[in-house]
């Protein structure tokens, strides 16, 4: 068990270190988030509707599109000189590899979400509502499931000729629960309701994440093994 945690930690640390060295995914996702917000400004006619009223939906869509950009590159650095083979021939269980990849990606997407909230606050005066903890819960539970699905499927798409273009086709149909209840929870909280009123959303987002995590941890071996 301790061994397992150490291995996961070594993998996560390596991924984050590589990300800090290269900034490949962070820079792409960050730029994407800011630019999308700029485009939203011109896409919404302010005489009819203020972007703030659409904020919850726009934020989640930016998370989805920006996130898929980063998730699709999960195994890109591993492909270089067969490093993934090095991990697969080491005594690390496949589920540990999966959980480590999810953890690293979750940190990355977490940073993306913070940036998105900041940018929407700056551009469209979207506040955090009265209950930042519940908001944090809704965002992180939704993003966790998304990360787990995206990580599993990015393992699928690296082995496909179509590569990253296939990823949205596989992942988006499964994101409906996340978008429905993520947007609902977020917009309620932006409107200033108490944490108790988003409990239902939290519960469903929690099941969504749990299903994605368990399925991924269990099925990942069939994705990477030969």
């Amino acid at each position: 068990m301790i061994r397992y945690v150490q291995q996961v930690e070594a993998l996560v640390r390596k991924d984050l270190l590589l990300e800090l060295r290269t900034w490949d995914r962070l820079s792409a996702m960050g730029a994407f988030a800011v630019l999308v917000a700029v485009l939203f400004h011109y896409a919404v006619d302010r005489t009819l509707i203020h972007p703030r009223e659409l904020a919850a939906g726009l934020i989640w869509l930016t998370i989805v599109f920006g996130g898929i950009l980063g998730l699709g590159r999960t195994f890109a650095l591993e492909e270089e000189d067969g490093a993934i083979q090095g991990i697969l021939t080491s005594p690390v269980p496949k589920d540990a590899v999966f959980l480590a990849k999810v953890t690293g990606n979750f940190v990355l997407l977490g940073l993306l979400v913070l940036l998105i909230l900041f940018v929407f606050g700056l551009f469209f005066q979207v506040g955090l509502g009265g209950n930042p903890f519940a908001l944090f819960g809704v965002l992180s539970l939704g993003v966790l499931g998304f990360t787990a699905l995206g990580t599993l499927y990015s393992g699928v798409t690296v082995r496909s000729r179509m590569g990253e273009t296939l990823l949205p086709v596989l992942v988006f149909p499964l994101l409906v629960p996340m978008v429905v209840f993520g947007v609902r929870g977020t917009s309620l909280l932006f409107a200033g309701v108490s944490g108790a009123e988003v409990e239902g959303s939290l519960r469903i987002l929690g099941s969504f994440s749990l299903v994605a995590l368990l399925a991924g941890a269990f099925l990942f071996r069939f994705v990477v093994e030969d």
Binding site: R3, Q6, Q7, E9, A10, L11, K14, L17, L18, R21, T22, L77, E80, D81, G82, A83, Q85, G86, I87, L88, T89, S90, P91, V92, P93, E225, D226
Partner: protein
């Protein structure tokens, strides 16, 4: 072609080896790995004792790398079984991989990490004790300690090969698998590798070496195999090799299967 002149492992494989007998360290039985229609490894059987070094020769595409990947636990066999010290690979994949070190065609190194960081990463995956001492020891064994803080992407081909060798041996594996380890090494490094190989023959470890260089390959070999089209067309102890120039024998075995067009190994 239907009956290859290979000498397979003697006797059927045993569940638990008899007491007092020298147990085989690495054992393959009727091992097959197919990629779609191609049978890259096609019914390979052999048995190696602790301390033995097996050299596998064979033309390109014979399935040598595939065989090593099967032994390393990176590929699932289509048929057949592999054992280490009598234990089936399928009975504990994680424990199996703990005992194996592989140097493959690819280095498994991250270009954006330094030499030391790469080794530390793999050391932690393998749960190596006193990791910093081991890293230092391995780096100096391949004479790379002066570059330990440089990013691997700035290394030359041979330097990466050296570092990859240090990576493969970091956790002191009982089974060492080397796929063309001499690739890219200069004369000095090749001598270094040769010394390292002979130091690996300490009686505890089993080494499988794949190479195209007959002289380097036969130098330390206890056992020799010639693999053609997935099969071991020859498998025997190195003293059983017929007298005469080894490349003539190699060529006759390979041409016996493929016919005509012989070439350098």
């Amino acid at each position: 072609m239907s009956s290859p002149p290979a000498r397979p492992a003697e006797g059927p494989s045993r569940e638990s080896p008899a007491e007092g007998e020298r147990t085989s360290s690495l054992e393959a039985h009727a091992l097959v790995r197919a990629f779609g229609p191609i049978r890259a490894v096609d019914g390979v059987s052999f048995e190696l004792l602790p301390g033995e070094l097996l050299t596998v020769f064979g033309p390109n595409g014979a399935g040598k790398s595939t065989l090593l990947n099967l032994l390393a636990g990176a590929l699932q066999p289509s048929e057949g079984e592999i054992r280490m010290g009598g234990r089936l690979r399928s009975h504990g994949e994680v424990e199996w991989r703990q005992q194996v070190g592989i140097l493959s065609h690819q280095t498994f190194l991250y270009g954006h990490l330094t030499a030391e960081e790469n080794l530390r990463f793999y050391g932690r995956l393998f749960g190596v004790d006193q990791i910093e001492d081991r890293i230092h020891e391995r780096l100096s064994a391949v004479e790379m300690d002066h570059r330990k803080d440089d990013l691997v992407r700035t290394f030359s081909r041979g330097m990466r090969q050296r570092l990859s060798l240090a990576r493969a041996l970091l956790h002191d594996p009982a089974i060492v698998l080397l796929d063309e380890p001499y690739t890219g090494l200069d004369v000095h490094a090749a001598a270094l590798l040769r010394d390292l190989l002979s130091s690996l023959k300490d009686g505890r470890r089993t080494v499988v070496l794949v190479t195209h260089d007959l002289t380097q390959g036969l130098d330390l070999a206890d056992r020799v195999a010639i693999q053609v089209r997935g099969r071991f067309e020859f498998f025997g102890s190195s003293v059983e090799l017929p007298s005469g120039p080894p490349d003539a024998f190699y060529r006759s075995v390979v041409e016996g299967v493929l016919g005509g067009a012989g070439g350098a190994p």
